[in-house]
């Protein structure tokens, strides 16, 4: 198969199993986002793919070639680090050129490629600047350019936007998504933020305690999370039982109606979100989430209609 294949990969630190028999496939040109709370093993999985930690079992295959025991520097896999890990003793251009230099590319070539990348990430003219004076967003762009410069087969991104403030994160997320698609770059993107993952990925993998619980397109995972942990991670906080089966109540399954709904509840919170209001409704002691066009004062009784086709069954 072409692309990245990880098979039954296990990484443990002493007693602690950080990655537990994880298998996944990323086709060439696609972006897989690994999401999950911190400590779920997603970064460790990424580091194992990069060759920075040695797995205890399992295999890592790129385009049919097993690379499990290949040294990091020979894998041709780029990694964008969480806190940039820029070479503080070098200029912006020298950081970007590093991988090219290691590959023994001619000096003139290096220069051309560096300029290309500076332009690509929107940092024209930054080449001779020192790393120290860069803003968070600029450092992020340099880190991306550095990782992309040697044209890696596979690009790994470890929480690339974690150190930015919210506004910058949204902006750079969109830009990153556009860039990866433009370059047709195969990538694995690790983040704890589901919005970030939805914004960038062709496929999402949700990890929990070292295990990969669910893989699918963002829409698939959101519509059909399959397990309670995944359901909660994508924001379906209401779990109900019906005919001995359990379901996650997606927010699109619930509508506020004038009368004779399926359920009655009392509004506990009403938050303005611009184009609509987010309601938290107490239904027999559980909190339900619904969206509505108009504000409803907390304390009001409401009727709720439930669309059974939009309930996500849980195993």
């Amino acid at each position: 198969m072409t692309g990245l294949d990880v098979d039954a990969l296990t990484v443990s630190y002493g007693e602690m199993v950080a990655v537990d028999k994880v298998s996944l496939h990323v086709p060439v040109g696609q972006v897989l986002a690994l999401v999950g709370p911190s400590g779920c093993g997603k970064s460790t999985l990424l580091r194992a793919v990069a060759g920075l930690v040695q797995p205890q079992a399992g295999s890592i295959v790129w385009n049919g070639r097993t690379i499990t025991d290949v040294a990091t520097h020979q894998r041709g896999i780029g990694l964008m680090f969480q806190h940039h890990a820029l070479f503080t003793h070098r200029s912006v251009a020298d950081n970007i050129a590093f991988g090219l230099k290691m590959a023994g590319r001619a000096r003139g070539d290096q220069e051309t490629r560096v300029n290309e990348l500076l332009e690509l990430v929107g940092l024209e003219g930054f080449g001779s600047r020192p790393i120290e004076g860069l803003s968070g967003g600029e450092a992020q762009r340099v880190a991306l350019a550095r990782a992309l410069a040697p044209e890696p087969d596979l690009l790994l991104l470890d929480e690339p936007l974690a150190s930015l403030d919210r506004a910058r994160r949204v902006e750079l997320n969109a830009e990153l998504s556009r860039l990866l698609r433009e370059l047709d770059q195969t990538a694995v993107y690790v983040t704890h933020d589901q919005d970030e993952a939805f914004g960038v990925a062709d496929a999402i993998g949700v990890m929990h305690q070292g295990e990969l619980l669910r893989v699918g397109t963002p829409a698939e995972v959101w519509r059909d999370p399959q397990t309670e942990i995944v359901a909660r991670f994508v924001g379906h906080d209401t779990i109900i039982e019906h005919d001995d089966a359990r379901f996650a109540v997606r927010s699109d399954a619930v509508t506020v109606v004038e009368s004779s709904g399926d359920r009655h509840g009392v509004v506990t919170r009403c938050a303005f979100q611009g184009d609509r209001f987010e309601l938290l409704i107490d239904v027999d002691g559980t909190a339900w989430r619904a969206f509505h066009d108009l504000a409803i004062a907390p304390g009001s009784a409401v009727e709720l209609a439930l669309d059974p086709s939009k309930l996500a069954p849980l195993s």
């Binding site: 060759g51 894998r75 890990a85 003793h89 410069a149």
Partner: protein
């Protein structure tokens, strides 16, 4: 694979230290314990020995207290006040500390000469006071730089909290600040005690023939009386004491690091007239105190009979009695040795630092300790050990030119390693990983990341090694004494100062001034790269 590579990296420095440090010291131990009929015990419990041990301890203690007291004003000023020339003050206060001990001794002889303290009611010559003052002069920098550096970064909020709770400034200092400074003060105290305990040249030159510490006594037995077993026995006492002190010091240093919230430079500019006056008094008072002996040294080197002239400097090229080479030849010898010693210290120090940072836990710990041991061995013990052990087969280096720079480099290597290792340790490991993901081989990672980032610290360490070699006296007095034509500058100075006659003494002073200027220049140049003295202290 990783183990193999790190073992190869560690092998060179480990072998060097094993052959040129561990083997000589172990030989000394075996000789001392084996050949002496009464055993070490007999020598050590002799009346003379007990007196010497006691003197060594109490002079070190008093020297330490004296240095601490003299350091108070400038430490306070540097820690709490910003002023023009603050950086310069920090740099200059280090000068006495980096000066060769023979130069400090010369400066005090010059001082006694200038102010007539060689005899009479205020006689300083050959008294213990001369030794104590010289030690204090030498070590003030340790307190100023380590306690001052720590203090200035200390979070001031606890002190401010104490003030809001009703404590006077003095009370807040005593109740809150002083206890928080204690780790730094204790660490500095143990360093100064160690230096004073192992002091050699100052006691030998200023103490006169009748005053002896363990260090000078080893020299007396080994060189003057040629009584190897007794010298070896005393060396064991010295080694035991020094190893204990180094261990205490290491423990205190570790405690001093990271115990309190350090928040960056907290000094503020003086505001009131009174604040400005006390700041001025502290800075200028200390400058006068530390500058005076050196000024007088220069003045004496220029004074000849009636007036001032360059006669002593002009005579440096001519041969005098008691010194086997001319002063200029000695200078040439010293520079050659210093270049070689700095080169050895650079290679061994860099390899050792890389191996310590990248090695497996075991090699790393072992090498770290191995590289620091020479620091904890007195120079006299080291020189003596080398002299009696490297005398067989391929290791018969006693008459080799290389024995001098090799021995001197052993004293310098710990300083290189102590400067470079923390810098390498502070490198974000992700930076090395980033280099690897970009295609850098392990060797390339070391070269492109470690060596580049460590280069400044290494350059400073090498400069320091150069300076140490130039001024080294204790070990060189053993290993360098065997080839009279290879006499170094410090050995020549000691000879010149030890002989009667104004001309010889004047030439000794002139040579001291030259050594002082060269050493200061080298260290100041190094300090521009990276404040090693700070790292070392």
């Amino acid at each position: 694979m990783k183990t193999l590579r790190s073992a190869a990296l560690a092998a060179v420095p480990a072998t060097f230290v094993a052959v040129f440090f561990a083997y000589p010291v172990l030989t000394l131990l075996v000789r001392g314990l084996g050949q002496n009929a009464d055993g070490v015990f007999g020598v050590v419990t002799g009346e003379r020995s007990l007196k010497i041990v006691w003197f060594t301890i109490w002079q070190a203690a008093v020297s330490t207290v004296l240095a601490a007291v003299l350091a108070v004003p400038l430490t306070w000023a540097i820690a709490n006040r910003t002023f023009r020339g603050r950086r310069l003050a920090r740099g200059l206060v280090t000068v006495p500390f980096v000066l060769p001990t023979v130069v400090v001794a010369s400066a005090f002889i010059a001082l006694m000469d200038r102010f007539g303290l060689e005899s009479g009611a205020f006689r300083l010559r050959h008294t213990v006071w001369a030794i104590l003052l010289a030690h204090a002069f030498f070590n003030v920098a340790v307190f100023v730089r380590s306690v001052g550096g720590y203090w200035t970064q200390l979070d001031r909020r606890p002190e401010e909290a104490a003030r809001t709770l009703g404590a006077s400034p003095w009370r807040a200092f005593r109740e809150v600040t002083l206890p928080r400074l204690r780790p730094a003060i204790l660490a500095a105290t143990s360093v100064v005690f160690l230096f004073s305990f192992t002091s050699f040249a100052i006691i030998l030159i200023l103490g006169g023939p009748r005053r002896s510490s363990i260090e000078t006594e080893i020299y007396r037995y080994a060189v003057t009386l040629i009584d190897i077993p007794n010298a070896a026995a005393l060396s064991i006492v010295q080694m035991t004491a020094v190893v204990t002190l180094v261990m205490v010091n290491g423990w205190l240093q570790r405690r001093a690091v990271g115990r309190q919230g350090l928040v960056g430079d907290r000094a503020i500019a003086p505001r009131t007239g009174r604040q400005r006056a006390s700041l001025g008094a502290a800075v200028w008072g200390t400058a006068l105190l530390l500058g005076l002996p050196l000024m007088v040294l220069i003045e004496r080197s220029l004074s000849s009979g009636a007036g001032y002239s360059l006669v002593h400097y002009r005579s440096l090229g001519s041969k005098v009695r008691f010194v086997p080479v001319t002063a200029l030849e000695a200078l040439e010898n010293s520079l050659g040795f210093a270049i070689a010693a700095a080169g050895i210290a650079m290679i061994i120090g860099a390899l050792a630092s890389l191996a310590i940072v990248h090695g497996t836990r075991f090699t790393s710990r072992l090498l770290d300790l191995g590289m620091l041991l020479p620091l904890g061995t007195s120079a006299v013990t080291l020189g003596f050990g080398v002299l009696i052990s490297l005398n067989r087969g391929v290791l018969d280096l006693r008459s080799s030119w290389w024995i001098v720079p090799i021995t001197q480099s052993l004293i310098a290597i710990p300083f290189v390693v102590r400067g470079v290792v923390p810098v390498l340790r502070s490198v974000d490991p992700a930076m090395r990983e980033a280099a690897a993901t970009l295609g850098a081989k392990p060797a390339q990672v070391r070269r492109e990341i470690d060596l580049r980032i460590g280069a400044r610290a290494l350059a400073t360490g090498v400069g320091f090694a150069f300076a140490i070699s130039l001024g080294e006296f204790g070990a060189t007095s053993f290993v360098g004494g065997r080839r009279p034509d290879q006499t170094t500058v410090p050995l020549a100075i000691e000879r010149l100062l030890g002989q009667p006659g104004d001309l010889l003494r004047g030439q000794g002073m002139a040579l001291s001034v030259i050594l002082m200027l060269v050493t200061t220049a080298v260290v100041m140049l190094g300090d521009r790269f990276h404040p090693t003295a700070g790292a070392v202290l």
